[in-house]
Amino acid sequence: MIHATYFDGRSSRRHPVTVLFHKGVVAIEGENLRRSVRLRQVRISEPLARAPRILTLPDGAYLESRDAKLDKYLRRNGYRESWVVRWQRNWPASLAALAGLVLLLASGYQWGLPWAADELAQRLPRTIEVKIGEGQLEMLDAGYMEPSRLPPSRQQDLRDAFASLKTPTGQAIPYRLEFRSSRIGPHAFALPNGVIVMTDQMVEMAPDDHAVLAVLAHELGHLERRHSLRRLLQAAGVGVAVNVYLGDVSSLLALAPAVLLDQGYSRDFEREADRYAIDMMRANGLPLSPIAQLFERLGTPDDDDDRAPHSRSGRSAVIDYLSSHPSDAERIATLRAAD
């Protein structure tokens, strides 16, 4: 027998009752009150540490009980808590859920989201990329770029030289090479609409044309792998996930992890593009030491979206984690090793 409070659902009055459980039947008895219901027809709320359990009868009347013996009687009469409830009540299982959560999020970040973004990117119509790229080029031209001061013949030479190279896969990738002069210094961009923008300052800084070609190959790698669109999609995915997790605390706070995680993706893409450039230079029997030399000169290499080039030699691994690009030391070492 347990003590409970009975509410009839018609008034707010509390009726103190005693409840008996016997062979799957709940018998309720109180002042002017006597009813019995099959336990199967009763909806039973989950047990909480300091809140009463609620046993709702089919007609909406219900029992509230804080009696510690209730759980025991329910169990004896064949009631079993749902697996979610048993899970939530169990500390080791909850901590396992936490571990599972961390594992799931980490693998989702590492493999799931990149895979999904890649699949989606392949299915999205080309027109989206063209539109985004055109918008970016317009923005760059309006804010940061001026017409190139390189002589047209020099531009044409570089275009021809790059056009004569074969890609590592042998497949031709549509692109258009544009030169611009810019106060942002030596940079190169691959826009999603297939436009590669290289600044005059980059051409001037390069020790020779092989370095320029390697930078262009790197950008072509971005195009071939559709990095711009994939990064947009991945950033959107990360943004949604972080906002679901932290958005209710503060959407401003959610910004920091979203940016950091996006930088991680950016570094992966840069490494992939470096790999592509190495393969392309090798496929054409060209040396890699010039681009390694260019990286050494630049401090910061060619880029999609980095702003002012700082002298970044000797960055620590921690700082590298905050950056959109792998460290120069790492990239130069990779290039030297491949040469």
Binding site: R13, R14, E31, Q88, Y245, I319
Partner: protein, 403 residues
């Protein structure tokens, strides 16, 4: 104590003093007088619910989120106690899921349309604005119809029509003022006098300064004036000017906060210059700006929240009963700030503990001042309505205009 008569379910004729034992069994009782709200939830218990909810939500690609929401709300409702009885939440997860899917479709429509063209995006925004009163009414209805105390459901009587009549004022106001300012600016563009420029600048600002507190007041009145507990209606007696006062003081606080932030930046200018010259200059500049914004937000938010909860609940009555709310801005600031720090330090794992702490403070700041015995509320006659409403697609955008 209570002279109330028990409406005995069976024996109508035989009216002895049946109430006596019933009341005597509950010494803390529900009689006339003050009944503080209590919150009995604990962070460590809610943490387990939260983590399982989160894992299942991710594993089911968000579908479980509707069930998770019901679990969460039930946890908070059932741990809220007043006058010896708890609250309960009855939302149907499938109804909530339907609402969420609809919300997702609307959001996607908006996203895709803005990508497609600016005009299409504007049309979708207008459409969303046009159905906002409908969404709002539905959310209020769903929420109250699914909340109960002592076995009686709450109910929201407000209609979609009332919501439109209330909210139509604001777009009309803005349109009229916008048109007026535009015509002024257009007709005198050659040699504007100072007064005219001031008028053109200040009028829209004044319009916004009027509209925001007024809209907040209208929403709160709509929400509280049209609510029932069983058959008993709530009454809302706050005045629009009280809302203006709170907003006015909040703006004042923002200005003071801005001055403090300015002084801080001035004092740390040297450090700042050194940091900016370093490798991550841009990052530090952004962090500084965010910090400045955040500090003023951190101060204003608890002020606004505490004053608003106090204003709204100190002016809400339920039949003969009323409420008292004594939330202190300073205590709320302490809770928000320490919660935020702990959430950052634990990479978010402190969130469930933070939620429980905040709920405990806000709930325990409330008192129900009963003007009569609390055992005598009666259920709404057409109880079926609550059930039917509970099945409708639930609150679409998770409007949480709780307190």
């Amino acid at each position: 104590m209570a002279e109330a008569v028990l409406e005995a379910p069976s024996t109508g004729a035989d009216r002895r003093v049946e109430t006596a034992p019933a009341v005597a069994a509950y010494p803390e009782a529900a009689a006339e007088g003050e009944h503080p709200f209590r919150f009995t939830g604990s962070g460590s218990e809610y943490f387990r619910i939260w983590v399982v909810n989160l894992l299942l939500t991710i594993l089911t690609l968000g579908i479980y989120s509707a069930w998770a929401k019901v679990r969460r709300l039930q946890y908070f409702h059932r741990n809220t106690v007043v006058a010896g009885a708890i609250f309960d939440y009855h939302g149907e997860p499938k109804a909530i899921l339907k609402g969420r899917i609809l919300a997702l479709v609307l959001l996607l429509a908006y996203q895709l349309s803005t990508g497609f063209s600016a005009v299409a995006g504007a049309i979708v925004i207008l459409l969303l604005a046009a159905i906002f009163p409908w969404l709002l009414t539905r959310a209020f209805r769903f929420k109250l119809a699914n909340t109960s105390y002592r076995g009686l459901r709450f109910r929201f009587r407000g209609t979609v029509g009332q919501a439109y009549r209330m909210l139509i004022l604001f777009p009309v106001l803005f349109a009229v003022i916008g048109l007026f300012v535009w015509s002024l600016a257009a007709s005198f563009s050659n040699s504007p006098s100072i007064g005219l420029v001031l008028l053109v600048v200040l009028l829209p600002m004044a319009a916004i300064a009027t509209a925001v507190p007024l809209a907040h007041y209208c929403l709160k009145r709509f929400q509280h004036e049209h609510a029932d507990y069983g058959q008993t209606p709530f009454h809302f007696s706050a005045q629009a000017r009280d809302f203006f006062k709170i907003y006015g003081k909040s703006v004042g606080l923002v200005i003071v906060g801005g001055a403090v932030a300015g002084a801080f930046f001035a004092l740390t200018a040297g450090l700042f210059a050194w940091l900016e010259a370093s490798v991550f200059g841009a990052v530090f500049a952004a962090l500084y700006a965010l910090l400045g914004l955040y500090v003023s937000y951190l101060f204003v938010r608890p002020y606004m929240e505490s004053r608003m909860q106090n204003l709204v609940w100190n002016h809400t009555e339920l039949g003969l009963h009323r409420f008292e709310s004594r939330v202190k801005a300073r205590a709320l600031l302490g809770i928000h700030a320490s919660n935020l720090i702990l959430i950052v330090l634990t990479l978010g794992l402190y969130k469930p503990f933070a939620a429980v702490r905040l709920a405990r403070y806000r709930v325990q700041s409330m008192t129900l001042v009963a003007g009569a015995d609390l055992e005598d509320f009666l259920a709404d006659q057409d109880a079926d309505r609550a059930g039917a409403l509970g099945q409708e697609a639930g609150d679409l955008f998770d409007f949480d205009i709780a307190l």
